[in-house]
């Protein structure tokens, strides 16, 4: 039974695909042309990779004139994020700040 994470791992298993996704995450929305210039592979290959990323909901696209613009959806990585680790540390530090605040209140 494939879960969301399986689909993500598959989509991101290819290094070229990963590089394209990283670029979109880092630099924001880009056209297929701009991505092709730096991908080191042909435009049909880039389009194929983008289609795979889109199936995994990692990117979404919009057409404007003759160009297609792609944008990363970092929230699609949510299943891979170590939420527990992050929020564990987050809430402990917030409890410390709450304790400081309580000390300051109504003095």
């Amino acid at each position: 039974m494939p879960c969301a994470a399986d689909n993500l791992f598959r989509a991101l298993a290819d290094p070229t695909r990963r590089a394209i996704f990283e670029r979109l995450t880092r630099d924001g929305e880009q056209t297929v042309h701009a991505l092709t210039e730096r991908a080191g592979v042909s435009q049909p290959m880039v389009s194929k990779h983008l289609a795979a990323l889109k199936r995994a909901k990692l990117v979404h696209n919009r057409r404007q004139g003759r160009e297609t613009h792609y944008q990363a959806r970092p929230e699609a990585l949510a299943p891979l994020v170590d939420w527990i680790g992050h929020y564990g540390a987050f809430w402990h530090s917030r409890f410390d700040q709450l304790e400081d605040l309580l000390k300051r209140m109504d003095k």
Binding site: L12, P74, P79, L102, M105
Partner: protein
């Protein structure tokens, strides 16, 4: 998309404070006080009220957490939803009066069970790859 079931995970933090529940409750429910220990917000202690928690925006994350007040029982219980970056979760506060003050318990639940995939992923170096998003979450701190 909320699918609360047994396959999700929680973060639980408990601490006893040497103050009465009424004082701890104020820190949890007065907007200007919440800002001092948690984040900027437009919180109101009214069930059904939608509000945002706002932290400093970073690339690919606007720093906004979308919340809705779920439970308000003054000096006893407070709960709100916590949605951001594809995470749909719930924060539940419980205040219990003790001899020395208040035992405050926070349960943040609804983390996906795909968490296991995250640990597997970490072993394969995926964690480094998703470093960008990790930083985003770290920005929460």
């Amino acid at each position: 998309m909320t699918t609360p079931d047994t396959s999700t995970h929680s973060v639980i933090v408990e601490r006893e404070f040497p103050y009465p529940p009424e004082k701890v409750w104020r820190a949890l429910t007065e907007s200007s006080l919440i800002e001092q220990w948690l984040m900027k917000n437009d919180f109101q202690p009214v069930a059904g009220h939608s509000f945002n928690l706002r932290s400093t925006p970073v690339p690919n994350w606007d720093g906004i957490i979308n919340c809705e007040v779920l439970v308000v029982e003054p000096n006893r219980k407070l709960s709100y939803s916590w949605g951001t970056l594809g995470l749909e979760s719930v924060v539940f506060w419980t205040l219990v009066a003790t001899e020395g003050g208040t035992l405050l318990r926070m349960e943040h639940s609804g983390f996906p069970s795909d968490q296991d995939a995250s640990y597997k992923g970490a072993q394969y170096g995926w964690k480094r790859f998703i470093g960008g998003l990790e930083q985003v979450i770290a920005g929460l701190q």
